[in-house]
Amino acid sequence: MPSRLRHAALTALAAALPLSLAAPVHAQEAPKLAWGNGKLLLTGGVSSVDGAAGGGLTPWAVTASYATENQVGATAHLTRVKTQDYAMTAYGAAVGIGDRFEFSIARQDFDTGATGTALGLPGLHLKQDILGAKLRVAGDAILDSDSLMPQIAIGLEHKTAHAGDLEPTLTALGASTSGTDVYLSATKLFLAQGLLLNGTLRATKANQNGLLGFSGTGHTGYSVQPEISIAWLARKNVAIGAEYRGKPDNLNPSLLGAGLKEDDWSDVFVAWAPSKNLSLTLAYVDLGRIVPAVATRRQTGTYLSAQVAF
């Protein structure tokens, strides 16, 4: 099929030249972008904790909002995570353009609780700003149900950590205050089964997602981490699933021995979208150990996120 070949060639071109807009090449006249919500329910994913559209812990290849081809849309989210010894609030916004581009911004505010006090820094909050961009380079996760080809996207998340009075300590451990994650995501909905799978590979230097800076003495390079999500559409507006996110362990060992060891993340979740304007995600998360020098137990707890979409 020549038109499919042509499409494949254009897609490859788009991948090679991330800044080029491939879509207008298809049509004689460049289609106009209009505000819209033409995607099917839940097929834009929810807002991940880092701001990109996807699952809760990991980005997917879907683009933010309900905007489909020739449309623009936006989302905003507020997320709260509470474990035994810590709490985090995250909020942000994203825009999706033509089901091709996504731009996101997010802020995380991590309350160190008693650990901060134990470190002589009572009331310590670790904050982080994240700017994200994503480009869908190939495939259609939803409608190409006669093919195994997933939707594929590449993305980056530029993170700037604000560790407050802990910053000199992080510097002493060889960690820097900003870093950029780069990821490749593949998402496929097996429509007949109502089963969505996502695999993401992320190249990152982040310690605890960046809240404890980036890299460490003796661990200065990128490592590639796997992230996996599985979701089952129980109803048109309800998805149930599980996620796993691998993480580096750059600050282990450190001056504190294994005291800053970190673990991979996982969760089980249920997402409910009563309309295209709102989704609520409730999860049970296991964030592993966070600063076990002080808080030795695994941090498990609840994750609640609300997303509004325009």
């Binding site: 099917l40 020739n70 195994l148 429509l191 007949a192 991979d264």
Partner: protein, 152 residues
């Protein structure tokens, strides 16, 4: 040690899930092996009822109304019944012109295509068709977006 085991277990699980999905979907375009989906839709009487209601909804929805208000609705309904019957494994064979030609007179973008999917979901809900059967039917129909969507 426990951590690397957790990681290996998670990756193994995910690989298994991917493979299971792939196997379940191994022959995606072929018609169903039996007529169970056709029966779940209530065979011919069920499909006729579904499509009658579907057309009422298509004409009521401002997103899809422009594409159906001026067509021969009785003919389109007949075509849709035959088409759904065929892809559901029923005893039908659609003979009409190919899908690209049928839709060439309209400017159909992805949002319009998805709007029709949503209206079909509403119609299937109204007929009490189980969600799993709805998804099996949609999986048969969804790839037609490549022939139908002509405004990129």
């Amino acid at each position: 040690m426990t951590i690397s085991f957790r990681r290996i277990a998670a990756i193994a699980f995910a690989t298994l899930a991917f493979s299971a999905g792939a196997i379940a979907q191994a022959q995606p375009t072929t018609r169903p092996a039996d007529d169970s989906l056709y029966q779940q839709f209530g065979a011919q009487p069920g499909l006729i009822k579904l499509i009658d209601d579907f057309m009422v909804r298509l004409l009521a929805d401002p997103r899809t109304q422009p594409f159906f208000k001026d067509v021969n609705q009785a003919h389109v309904k007949e075509e849709l019944v035959v088409q759904l019957c065929e892809v559901a494994g029923g005893p039908c064979k659609r003979k009409g012109p190919d899908m690209q030609k049928v839709h060439a007179g309209f400017d159909i973008d992805r949002a319009s295509f998805n709007a029709l999917v949503e209206v079909l979901q509403q119609a299937m809900d109204a007929q009490g068709i189980p969600f799993s059967a709805q998804n099996r039917m949609l999986a048969q129909l969804a790839p037609m977006h490549r022939e139908i969507v002509n405004v990129k």
